[in-house]
């Protein structure tokens, strides 16, 4: 009897559920994933440089150095070893017109007139080959301003400009 009444009330409420309006869940525990930092165009790499290997930007931002302001960019490369990362980086910059000035196994410097020196340091992670994330690359780059007023360029979780 009691359960029957409960069921009847439930059916009636369900039938009228649309007339009460619609709930608005916020989805705050699963926010949409931001566009990858270098895909936004907010703070791009020097003109024409793009990497063909999988990577994610971990941190970006400017720091004060003895040569004035410089941009520090930290990314991680995935699924490839340090040799391939080294080759991929050199290829990306030479393809964009940079000249290789120094090429050590885990570090390099390249230059291009009008852009200035760019250098990087590779730090392979001590992980097995079947781990996705394989190593870090730390870049020293010329600074760059935000290229657009898009609010996305102010979102630190997108730009990864959390400050150093």
């Amino acid at each position: 009897m009691i359960w029957g009444s409960v069921a009847a009330v439930a059916v009636v409420l369900a039938a009228f559920s649309n007339s009460f309006g619609r709930a608005e869940p916020t989805g705050n525990y699963r926010p949409p994933l931001q566009t990858a930092a270098l895909d936004t165009g907010c703070f791009p790499l020097p003109d024409g440089v793009h990497f063909d290997f999988p990577f994610q930007v971990r941190r970006d931002g400017d720091i004060e150095t003895s040569e004035g302001q410089r941009r520090r960019l930290w990314l991680q490369y995935d699924l490839i070893g340090d040799e391939e990362a080294r080759a991929g980086l050199l290829e990306a910059f030479t393809r964009a017109g940079f000249r290789v000035v120094r090429d050590d196994p885990l570090a390099a410097e390249v230059r291009k007139p009008g852009v200035g020196p760019v250098s990087w340091r590779i730090e392979p992670l001590d992980v097995a080959d079947d781990v996705a994330v394989q190593g870090n690359v730390y870049f020293d780059l010329p600074t760059i301003e935000a290229q657009s007023d898009d609010p996305m360029c102010q979102d630190r979780f997108t730009t990864k400009r959390f400050g150093w």
Partner: protein
């Protein structure tokens, strides 16, 4: 006066204690009604909102908003949706329910569930146990505060009572030579998975006790009864998996990776025992929590590599746990246990009006909770260290409670501790205390059950079964002391 109190029968006590519980609930509601949803509560409530919309779509024959369901119900696969289903009816009727109404609704639902459970305990185990529950946790202010909250820990604790109200009688009957029926098997499986839907880590308890019952069926029954009884337990397993499957499939589809119950275990292990500064193969993004940033990172890596998000969480966790040693693990287990069992009032500061601070109400609630909880904790410890022998009823109850409490206390071995998890174990502590007092009284009065009989349909004489159950009890005591001792030595 004392004579009059004595003449009050246990049922009258129970009635008055339940009235006191309701009054306490009414007294505490103003304290928690304005408390904003805290942390994970928002996720459960959002899930409830999305499910209410799903019902609207079903009724109107519209296509389901799978994106909304995926984002709010599955989210990152952290929480199984038991509490979301419990919240949904409110949002069916009041889609934009205020926080006051949400808390009132949750308080009402938990009241119905807990009174139902106490009555089931009274029917199954007797009024003594029901009275015990009505006092602890029924009159513990913090437990009452939590009964207005959307986390599933407290509800899981209540559903565990229902589960035990079925499991223990079945176990007793197996001892008497009668197998669990098909209906009991199905119900056991259903209640076992229901517990998991409210608090996934309690799966150790519900699955573990079902396995123990399965073993008892194999040892204590003979012939056809044994085969049919075992098949009833297989049915329990089947029902368990059948009810689990919709969640596992939905979550796996939404996250495009394999999810069985929840995805949190790996990140939890890393944050608990590993170096969470290394969880993203280096530090994670700053300015967010240790739970959100690893998932964002896993999604970022997953996006560029095609490696599944959940698989990534596992790889990240392994990396962060590279330097875990026996010593660091043992120390962390102690730390977690401390947080799990020794800070029962830890949430009082949150479940109160915004910015209320540590005012009088706070101290009354946190203080009385702490005193009551520590007393029950002492009782539980005494129960865990006692071998119950005065009757078979006590033996089976003790065995089940010891295993159940042990199963819940595995949590500090895998999970960071917190001040709200005790609401799951609380009811078991209460049953344990009543059991202990009952055993003492029986022994003092010399009421010890004779063991000369062989129950009519039983395969084994009572004395043999008793000897084995007592051995298991000794083994559990040795195990408990052993685990604490080993951890202690490792931690030093």
């Amino acid at each position: 006066m004392i004579d009059r109190l004595r003449s009050l029968r246990a049922d009258q006590w129970l009635l008055w204690l339940l009235v006191a519980h309701v009054l306490l609930k009414l007294a505490i509601y103003p304290q928690v009604m304005h408390a904003e949803l805290i942390g994970d509560e928002t996720s459960y409530v959002n899930g409830g909102r999305a499910l209410s919309n799903a019902l609207r779509d079903l009724v109107a024959l519209n296509p389901l908003d799978t994106a909304e369901l995926s984002r709010n119900v599955v989210s990152s696969g952290w929480f199984m949706p038991g509490m979301m289903f419990l919240c949904a009816p409110l949002f069916v009727v009041v889609p934009d329910a205020s926080v006051e109404l949400i808390r009132a609704y949750l308080g009402g639902v938990s009241l119905l569930l807990s009174i139902g459970a106490v009555l089931a305990v009274r029917r199954t185990f007797g009024a003594r146990y029901a009275v015990g529950l009505a006092i602890f946790p029924g009159l513990v202010p913090m437990w009452v505060s939590f009964s207005y909250a959307a986390w599933g820990d407290l509800t899981a604790g209540i559903v565990i009572l229902w589960f035990l109200c079925l499991l223990v009688p079945v176990l007793r009957r197996v001892h008497a030579g009668r197998r669990p029926t098909w209906a009991e098997g199905a119900k056991l499986g259903l209640l076992a998975i229901l517990v998991v839907y409210f608090r996934s880590s309690a799966a150790v308890l519900s699955v573990g006790l079902c396995l123990v019952l399965g073993v008892a069926v194999l040892f204590l029954l003979r012939g056809r009864e044994r085969v049919l009884g075992f098949l009833a337990m297989v049915l329990a397993g089947g029902v368990f998996l059948m009810v689990l499957a919709p969640w596992s499939v939905t979550a796996s589809k939404a996250l495009d990776d394999r999810v069985l119950t929840t995805t949190t275990v790996q990140t939890v292990r890393a944050n608990t025992f590993g170096d969470h500064y290394q969880l993203c193969f280096g530090p994670c993004d700053p300015t967010s929590t240790i739970w959100f940033t690893p998932v964002r990172y896993a999604r970022e890596v997953s996006r560029v590599t095609g490696v599944g998000e959940v698989e990534m969480l596992g790889q990240m966790s392994a990396y962060a746990r590279r330097d875990v040693t026996a010593q660091s693990f043992a120390r962390d287990v102690f730390r977690n246990t401390r947080a799990y069992l020794f800070k029962p009032g830890g949430f009082a500061i949150h479940l109160q009006p915004p910015n209320a601070g540590k005012n009088l109400a706070y101290w009354v609630i946190a203080g009385s909770t702490t005193v009551m909880f520590y007393l029950a904790l002492l009782g539980m410890l005494g129960m865990l260290l006692t071998v119950f022998r005065s009757s078979f009823e006590n033996r089976w109850m003790a065995l089940v409670l010891k295993l159940g409490i042990g199963a819940l206390l595995t949590q500090p071995f895998v999970h960071i501790g917190g001040a709200r998890y005790w609401t799951t174990i609380g009811p078991l502590m209460s049953l344990g205390c009543v059991l202990l007092v009952g055993e003492w009284l029986s022994r003092r009065r010399g009421q010890v059950e004779p063991l000369s009989d062989v129950p009519a349909d039983a395969a084994l004489p009572s004395a043999t079964v008793a000897r084995w159950v007592d051995r298991v009890q000794w083994l559990l005591i040795a195990g408990l002391i052993g685990v604490v001792a080993v951890l202690g030595v490792l931690a030093i």
